[in-house]
Amino acid sequence: MSVGRRAFLQFVGGAVGGTLLSPLPWKLADDSAIWSQNWSWRPSPERGEFTEKPSVCQLCPSACGILVRLVNGKQAVRIRGNSNHPFSKGGICPLGASGLQFVYAPYRIREPLKQTGTRGDPNGFKPISWDEALKEMGTRLAALRQENKAPSVAVITGQSRGSMSDLWRQFMTAYGSPNLFTMPDESDSQRLAARLAFGAAAPFTFAFERADYVLSFGLNLLDGWGPFVRMQNVFSNWRTESAGAVQTELVQIEGRASVTASKANQWVAVNPGTEALFALGLAYVLIESNLYDAGFMTDQVFGFDNWTDAAGNSHEGFKQFVLKHYSPDQVSKETGATAEEIIAIGRKFGAQKSALAVWGQGRGTHASNLYHDLAFMALNLLKGNLKNNGLVSLETPPPFAPLPEAAAVSSTAEGLAGTRLDLASSAKPPLPGNALHSFCDALGGSPAYPLELLLVHEANPAYTMAEPSLFRKAAAKTRMVVSFASTMDETAAMADLILPNHSPLERLDDIIGLPATPCAFYAIAAPVLAPQLDTRSSGDVLLTLARAAGEATAKALPWNNYETFLKDRVKGLAASQRGAVAGPTAVNLTTMQAGQNLQPNYKSDSDLWKKLLAGACWYDAPGDHLATLPTASGLIELACRSLPLAPGQAADDKLFLPHYQPLPPSGAADQFPLQLVTYQTVTVAAGLHPNPPFMNKLIPDDLLLGNEMFVEIHPRTAQQLQLADKARVVVQTPQGEAAARVRITHAARPGYVFMAQGFGHKNQDEYVRGKGVNANELVEVQLDPLTGLGTVWITRAQLRKA
């Protein structure tokens, strides 16, 4: 026994010693280390040849030039800016750089889906073939038209700057329904303002490049507004010291310390929503100190001085009106700015050679009160900025050939002919605009006629619209909702049928015009990837449906596919022999003259098409909008006498003039002592595209922590409410309530609650959904009585401890 044990021990000892001396343990150690360096569950990217394809980003209206890097020609791995693009100049925004995360998003819709359960049931969606889906849609459209119910079809498209919206318009006109809307935008009210003053419904453009003093009324120039990358370029130039160049000064008038306010040379903190009043106060200073362009105001502007109408009644002009009502002392109280500040800024604005006033709300995703648009325009008029080649102009569309004539509506139901749903009621606004909110409001209430079919294209109104419950109520009243979404967003989730569009980088599309940019612009976004899933371009789908819907639509939309349609457009553009293709040398917006004739640098329409497909863009100098003013007076009408007013109303001269006209928020001030203001930041995508995983890393942890989001309040407000930093609260407004936590910061104005947009998604995937709450749900939309447009400024709110 003892011998056996000893032998055993010897054996073990020998074995251990022997093994250690053999290469085995060392080999094992090495192999295991190599294994740990090559874990199979760590993805290994596909290797192969790199190629790079140019395109134009379609994720926002900036239309930046991009280059997409592909591996083996089929896997896109990288998006970077295209330095040959004249406006983005190689720059890119975080959303654009994340673009591939939308193409490869796990929450994309793989094929056409039909809701077989109750609406909104996530498990009710069943795949359906394209043929079947298109047949069903075509039959339905044809039947509705047959039954004279064409107006009971409505369309909402989010693609307002592209041929798709023209195609929708063409379709709806031929089909016979007036119910076509684009998603709300600041240009909605600007178009109407320009129509009153210039007789042309076009949004304003701003020559930031030529300004030496920029007054921004609440516009988040650097937080993602409008032409994002162009603004970043412009700002960069403002901050570049170069010999002899004048440094442009930026003054931000806003209630919250946004990025723009923080980076501005001067930040004037005012009560949110009173920016227009501040602008009128400045107008007073300019007029009173005689710092305005008197010659321009007399020669080219109607209604600055007192005027007489056709009936011989005399009316008060803008000058007298402003001097009566908007002295710095009068303005100071409500705006929260001091009279001295107003006077100083007004004088500076008047004295600067190229001073520009720009306005809007945040990133410009809401329409504005019409009178406020006019007030800001008036301030620019006083500086002579709307002269030909001035700092402010009207957007010039590219000179496309006209589309085939859409057959006049002939067979719609009696009494409904051509009447948009929101205009069919008795309280019709005098100057109706693209009033999606009014439409939803009318449909959700007691509509003049029922809606059979609602088509939603490249839009997610159930999430992005202010007060999205209006849309949901409207959709609930609609017999069938059809979505063209490429991802399972909130609107797609409540659709009855989904006809998924290609993702932006998979489809051929175009961009018409850059927001607020003083030149005509056209670009083609070429597809860089083959479609990854069983999706179809909505353009092609619409053309198919047009053929099925009836003879009129088939005739009005004669193209075989969307590509032919776009080629047709480019052909028209080439035929105009205007504009040029921007090559490597950037377009110089500093020297471009209005009405300037550019030498076309393309040989033929196919050459232009080829160049556009290769990522180059077409541009042209802005038109001279003053050459022929189609207004009654032939002048810029500061007194909007073309405004159709109700007979009794006309007695008040103010109604013709830009003035401060806040719409009172609902709710009692004692119940809702605070005011809620929503805002957008560039690091949180708040539009059609939700925040991609890349951008989640950019969100600070005092804005989103876990799934809880923070609202900003001033320390004094926190003290009054006895709230500590990070405290959990309930934000309640007349529209609803939501849970949040507070971030106490001096970025916030006392008495206000600032809430970021872009959170609170309910669908998509775990990288997106369930984070925070959707601020849009809490805000109150007020319909501008003049235009019916939904405006958002202030919502009364209360905060209480959760």
């Binding site: 990288r78 190689g90 890119i92 700002f235």
Partner: protein
């Protein structure tokens, strides 16, 4: 330090560095996204735990500490500083396995994840928090794996990673120079963040070439380094005209 004679990148004529103009930076984060995409940086569903996330280029918020409405906040993008202090970089000095080294030729501080044993000593030693640890296995939900670029290997759980000034781009530029018959040593290249910046606030170049824009800007009166008092001598310079920003760049200024 007693042995300050041992020079890191001070010998040659090449020292890559970056200058970030904080007056121009709007904190949009395009640089960070470009960096993530270029370098296959993994992400998780919840990225709000900033102390556990992986970030090579982090945006810090700097506040002037004043009351409304004198309050101002700016963004400060922080890549790896590629410290070129006399002795060594804080991280390269402490790595027990030589997984992170400073290239004396270029001034770049690299990191080799497959060499790294995950002891986190470098992360602890870095005062700029430029290093992140892979606390989890990286997971890309399907089909997001398709957008992984083959130029940079995804890292595994249990190792450190950090900004490399896009070292693979330098290699690519050198290869191109070789093919073109040029001197591969002195090539110019651009990291992904600098390329993406829409305000051109970031400038990258050879700090030792007096003609380079980066070198000129690094000598600008607005220029400063973060934590200069630690003698780490970062290769990243910042520009700001604001005194309060300068004050926040180091302790007790």
């Amino acid at each position: 330090m007693s042995s300050g004679t041992e020079n890191g990148s001070h010998g040659g004529h090449l020292h890559y560095g970056m200058v970030i103009d904080l007056d121009k930076c709007t904190g949009c984060g395009a640089c960070s996204v470009a960096c993530q995409e270029e370098n296959n940086i993994s992400f998780r569903a919840d990225e709000s735990d900033k102390l556990r996330g992986i970030s090579w280029l982090t945006l810090y918020r700097l506040e002037n500490g004043k009351e409304y409405p004198a309050y101002r906040a700016i963004s400060l993008p922080r890549p790896c500083m590629h410290c070129s202090g006399g002795h060594d970089s804080p991280c390269t000095y402490v790595c027990p396995v030589n997984a992170t080294k400073r290239d004396p030729e270029t001034g770049l501080v690299n990191h080799i994840p497959v060499r790294c044993i995950g002891c986190r000593y470098c992360m602890v030693a870095c005062p700029y928090h430029a290093r992140s640890f892979n606390w989890w296995d990286p997971v890309w939900p399907d089909p997001l794996t398709k957008m992984l670029t083959p130029e940079v290997s995804p890292r595994m759980r249990g190792v450190i990673e950090k900004c490399t000034f896009c070292g693979h781009r330098l290699n690519r530029a050198r290869d191109q120079a070789r093919v073109a018959g040029e001197d591969p040593k002195m090539v110019a290249y651009t990291p992904a963040c600098v390329e993406a910046c829409p305000t051109k606030a970031m400038v990258f170049g050879n700090l030792k070439d007096p003609q380079s824009e980066a070198a000129k800007l690094a000598k600008d009166p607005r220029a400063f380094q973060i934590l200069a008092k630690l003698n780490t001598d970062p290769s990243v310079y910042y520009l700001s005209k604001e005194q309060w920003v300068h004050k926040l760049s180091d302790n007790d200024l």
